[in-house]
Symmetry: C2
Subunit: 351 residues, 2 copies
Amino acid sequence: MQNGKMPYQPKQTPISSLGEFKLIEHLTRPFSHQQVSTLKGVGDDAAVIHINDHHAMVVSTDLLVEGIHFDLMYTPLKHLGYKAVVVNLSDIYAMNATPRQITVSIAISSRFTVEALDELYEGIAAACQRYKVDLVGGDTSSTLKGMVISVTAIGDAHPAQITYRNQAQIGDAICLSGDLGSAYLGLQILEREKRIFLDNPAAQPDLEEQSYLIGRQLKPEARHDIVALLAKHRIKPTAMIDVSDGLSSDLLHICTQSGIGCRIIEEYIPVHTDTLEVSAQFQLPPITCMLNGGEDYELLFTVSPQDATYIEQNLYGIAIIGHTVPADEGYTIISRGGNEHRLSAQGWKHL
Amino acid sequence: MQNGKMPYQPKQTPISSLGEFKLIEHLTRPFSHQQVSTLKGVGDDAAVIHINDHHAMVVSTDLLVEGIHFDLMYTPLKHLGYKAVVVNLSDIYAMNATPRQITVSIAISSRFTVEALDELYEGIAAACQRYKVDLVGGDTSSTLKGMVISVTAIGDAHPAQITYRNQAQIGDAICLSGDLGSAYLGLQILEREKRIFLDNPAAQPDLEEQSYLIGRQLKPEARHDIVALLAKHRIKPTAMIDVSDGLSSDLLHICTQSGIGCRIIEEYIPVHTDTLEVSAQFQLPPITCMLNGGEDYELLFTVSPQDATYIEQNLYGIAIIGHTVPADEGYTIISRGGNEHRLSAQGWKHL
């Protein structure tokens, strides 16, 4: 090389060095908003578009890729269609809004038949029926290999009723609908049975006993009942998110965006008996499945102390698992043994 | 086999036996609408959601798959990002609406670097800037192989100003912005240069001479200027669509949905001199490229005879290429030689 100079090498940063959330932040940071109607862009469960003083639209979108998000060896196409819709509706409910319409785009290789797509769309139709949303558009195309599904959900709400991630206040109670960790263990069971089947195709799995956990993985529901219950009792959460990535990661989204800390109590977090039993089989601490499992699609939200008292005394199905604290007190979980641990997006570390 | 009965075989219909439009119709036919706000679902350039008497939202979505819709051997990532946005905005303009927000989801394999995504998002940002739309959301995930991009565009319009495909009237003039066939020939040039390069990697393609055709393929624009021009002159098309699949296919969408026929004149359809020259090199009749090429993203629309007279006398850049006729007169194109041919979605057949 002349003059000892290195030849020009463009910088090549692997995506994995950033992780999903930092990558999104990196890519979208240069974008500014030009439309006055854009109330909320990237960074919440859904975007919010201003219509007028009484009306805002809420939009959320997800992309599901075969081999990454679903495995057709153990996922019935009807369940896949249902779940693809439900996970998007869950984002709309997490804004305290009502979903109204969806678009569904699919790309498929030639290995899929019309009958296979009929099954997928039966599941989509079942979700539309149950959640009263209309399929209004989409796109159909080919892939060289595998299936891709993209769903966009559109909902609406009174602007004052919308709950963002960044409005939790210090001293709020942290609330959770339903139990955690079950969808993750459902996935572990399905993966185990897949391995057994691949080793010995004559093996007949008996999955009936674990129908709760497997159902949570394959056919989750969005908690519209919780949104309706809170509305009926005139409780507006200060912040809300759906638990898709795991309690740790999703609670930290609320905390970091609201500029606060949190203190949650392990024994207050609801857990199903099947989760306890099967986590023991897999030699996994149940709390690890609950904090990091993901795909539970429960609602995690904060409410004022007064609303928390009302919820404790009057409402069923909502657990108060802790409270928010000043940012400098950090993110803490108190274990069943009474020890304090630091909560992190990857799990929890001993202090 | 007992009793001569065949064992049960589930029906296996290949997707290819239906084609895209029939497949979409087949899959979405069982869906009914439950929301009163759904004004228009599947079957137009975009869905239409009622807000109030003065306001409707318009939503369109597209899924682009590497190896099917784009080839990264000759598509710069910046252009790809730009085009992915523009083709969706084109659908919003084709409803006579104004795009305001987009969501962009991407799925990528580990072969892509942060720098590669930066280029893609530069193109997305350039399109947002030019068309004054905000990026408000999306999703980022992995694939085992290749890239997938899903864009959803959201716009708005006064409900009375929205143009559907199914409202063309008998006797309307058929209008077209810009020229046709150029994007398709741009693609042919790029594919040819790719083959030459694969045969001989030392070959240096000189693409400068064909910058018009290649530009039409790699960096199309959406015709917001035409929508603005028509609005300025208070002309509302009776029906409108953007030319994405080719003039034949897209004109037939208007005709079949409006329940009418058409009669267009080959020599009235604008064609660029480069299109004529390069189609000769490829030994393709230029009319075939114009009718079936696709990806021109020009606007094709119908207007009343009075509006047609006004356009002819006062507006520049809009060609009147024929008129609509009763359905029983069919779909006809008059060739330069004066012969009548039947227009079909696959091209045109001699009568």
